[in-house]
Symmetry: C2
Subunit: 460 residues, 2 copies
């Protein structure tokens, strides 16, 4: 047993921990920073579906951060923290070593949620882990022989994994308990075309359904299929469970930190835990608040974790009031084939559920012009505004290569708290090979402003 001393201790090496470490090193030179993570190698989580199709395998440069950590003088310990003692400011490692700290960052992340479905432990049932060795085993042992896959959960991971694995000639089924795929993130104008695309690729979609039992094969240790609610049986030699993740809460819970309903650590706008000003938490294990309502909400995203890591790092030793977490806006993007979909903020459905009275503006265009310009892709833009104050609540894009950055534009506008009238007056660029001839966000805003006008008795 050794006694190790550090100024800043970061537990976990995902995007949140990584950015907390890097940002702390940038803002607080001279502070000794130590990161403890369980694996020598780490994965970019959102790249995982592509290992199995487009990329054709795991490669060294999917392992981010390690070199950057070394370059910035951050000490890396491969190991597991088994306990933290907030009063003594000490963390204990699985090898018995004690690490004393001034500041602690809990970025323990999340793990796939596996519901108690009978058969979930059969060989061939798997989840999407950020763990390198798990994915490596999956890629080398399970995927090559796969002929028929059932995916439980029709969210981003389920949809993108389905498309990638179908490219290998595997018959793919998606089972989703909601009425539609991606229905928590998009309105029907977006998810219907995505479902159509998947159906055209011969991906079988089973909505308003769930897997009641995972069935064994002739070899009773292996998966042979699933039985759906209602009795239907789908034969399968593999089952992917992708219905979401849960925060890794054990360390925080045992240390007596207050947790939210789903087990995430409660934090303030600077990512400090509510219990200790010197303990921060960032990423999937930290509680999220919705940007608009400040209620529990928001999405567990690598990009969100990175933003939180930067905020923690900047505020590590003194608060910078400008640099705080304003709440989760949930900026997303996904893609199947050449059809991309992105979103930021609330969908119309979510906004109504949260209690907003709304107006929706829409625009359809091409992402190049004139229409004969090669490589043009249709873009659909859908913006949600509050009905009276016309504040931007959210937006969705269905389009091509620019979809991710269009979602980021909507995200920036939301985070700047703009109104429709402001957007309508904003300048944008136009270029035949790079943009639409009229900006989709400006156009959709115009359509919302027109409705706003026409719902009023008089305009003057």
């Amino acid at each position: 047993m050794k006694n190790i001393s550090t100024d800043v201790l970061i537990i976990g090496g995902g995007p949140g921990g990584l950015l907390a470490g890097i940002t702390t090193a940038q803002y607080w030179p001279g502070k000794k920073i130590t990161m403890v993570r369980m694996e020598k190698n780490a994965l970019v989580p959102c790249g995982i579906p592509y290992i199995f199709g487009t990329l054709g395998g795991l490669e060294k440069d999917m392992l981010p951060g390690t070199e950057q950590l070394h370059a910035m003088g951050i000490k890396l310990i491969i190991g597991r923290v088994t306990a933290i003692k907030p009063q003594e400011r000490v963390a204990i490692l699985d090898n018995g070593d004690h690490i004393s700290y001034e500041r602690l960052v809990l970025s323990t992340g999340s793990e796939p949620f596996v519901p108690p479905i009978p058969g979930r432990n059969l060989e061939g049932v798997f989840t999407i882990h950020k763990n390198y060795s798990y994915q490596n085993k999956l890629f080398r042992e399970i995927i090559p022989g796969m002929k028929k896959l059932v995916i439980i959960g029709g969210g981003f991971i389920g949809v993108e994994f389905a498309e990638e694995i179908e490219k290998r000639g595997v018959e793919v089924h998606i089972v989703e308990k909601m009425d539609h795929l991606l229905a928590t993130v998009f309105d029907r104008e977006i998810y219907l075309p995505v479902e159509e695309y998947l159906a055209d690729r011969n991906i079988h979609i089973h909505c308003r359904s769930s897997v009641e039992t995972i069935l064994p094969a002739d070899d009773p240790t292996k998966v042979g299929g699933v039985q759906l609610m209602g009795g239907e049986i789908i034969g399968a030699d593999a089952v992917l469970i992708a219905i979401g993740v849960r925060p890794r809460k054990e360390l925080a819970q045992e240390a007596g930190l207050r947790l939210g309903r789903r087990g995430a650590v409660l934090v303030d706008g600077f990512q400090r835990t509510l219990d200790y000003l010197n303990i921060f938490s960032v990423g999937d294990c930290a509680q999220k608040q919705d940007f608009f309502t400040r209620r529990e909400g928001g999405a567990l995203l690598a990009s969100q974790a990175a933003a939180e890591g930067r905020i923690a790092g900047m505020n590590m030793y003194s608060l910078q009031l400008l640099r705080q977490n304003g709440g989760s806006v949930a900026v997303y993007a996904g893609m199947v084939g050449d059809l991309a979909f992105g979103a930021a903020g609330m969908t119309a459905t979510q906004a109504r559920q949260a209690g907003f009275s709304i107006l929706v503006g829409e625009a359809r265009s091409l992402d190049h012009y004139p229409p004969a310009m090669p490589g043009s892709h249709e873009v659909y833009c859908r913006l949600v505004f509050t009905r009276e104050s016309m504040r931007l609540l959210g937006g969705q894009i269905l389009g091509g290569a620019t979809t991710g950055e269009l979602a980021n534009e909507i995200g920036f506008l939301i985070q700047n708290r703009v109104t429709a009238a402001e957007i309508a007056g904003f300048q944008t660029c136009m270029h035949p090979r790079l943009t639409a001839s009229a900006h989709p966000i400006t156009e959709a805003t115009g359509s919302a402003l027109q409705q706003h006008l026409h719902t009023r008795a008089t305009f003057h």
Copy 2:
């Protein structure tokens, strides 16, 4: 001679006039709107270089707006306004008709500036006009036999035209009087790679030079070449003059409206002329102010004209304080081959010239991740901040397909008057096929914040 009466009269059918008409129709239902333009057909101006290469010709759907005007009940008159009488609220057409109006929008646009170079009237010397019949003649009569072209002016039009025309096997020379191509819009980190690309395509670049004389061919009515400052002669059978445009000021000038130094109509933040509250001016013929300094400045862009047209339309019959022109941000994008370049706001050079003390943040990444993801393109992001307050002054992007929307993101952030600290805390999306693994704008902001920190004696 007829007497025609309208509520809103729009002179000119380019992007500014078009959006003024459409927006007025949307916001002020019941008002009679009339547009007078000179040509039956109009062109999307920024699509013009592509007529001669990628698109292989003019096509009907490059003529925007006419159908939309009809659909919105806007009356279109093909003709020329020869005079306006602000006191009588009347415009006079070339056929003698009088049009009386309540509100007038001057959107007469601009025309290519042709300096008094000897030989400028030779056959084979041309400019880039938005005029359909002129471009059509150019495309059908001049381009097909062209073997050697000299382009005078190394701005956006010169550069993009050079690349398109070179695809037809024409030997192309660009003559630019500044030290580099595109040097008024970009810093060297952007324009050097663009110059390299053009040189690799065998486009001949002559900087710090100018054309003294355009020389005749054996047939003395036709172009045979140019003589540069210093005496060098370049043989050529065509010369494109692309050194900028000048506002079409005659109508406004003769009506006694006040003009700026370069002949543009002086307007307020709602695009109303300083002389008459019921006369608006938008687009290339309207004076621009720089967003930051409020001095004369800004660029003549179709997208800027469109934004001004919308602002005029929204404020046509009563002012909406939120909807005004905050000054020109100049959001641009261009592309040669697969190398795109975009900008918004000030370059470092422009900011220093305007009197700002600045910091520059930079980031380099790929627009997909991990690096093996197919179709990845390098992205360079360069952001300019005020040194003390760290307000965003401008940004430049060198990249691939997402460059235009990244420039729009920078444009939105500038127009929202954000500081580096705010950007650093903003959430963005990440997706392997759609974005970089760390957002270029966030990363470049981080690099600027770090410098800001290190230029201070203490941080606490």
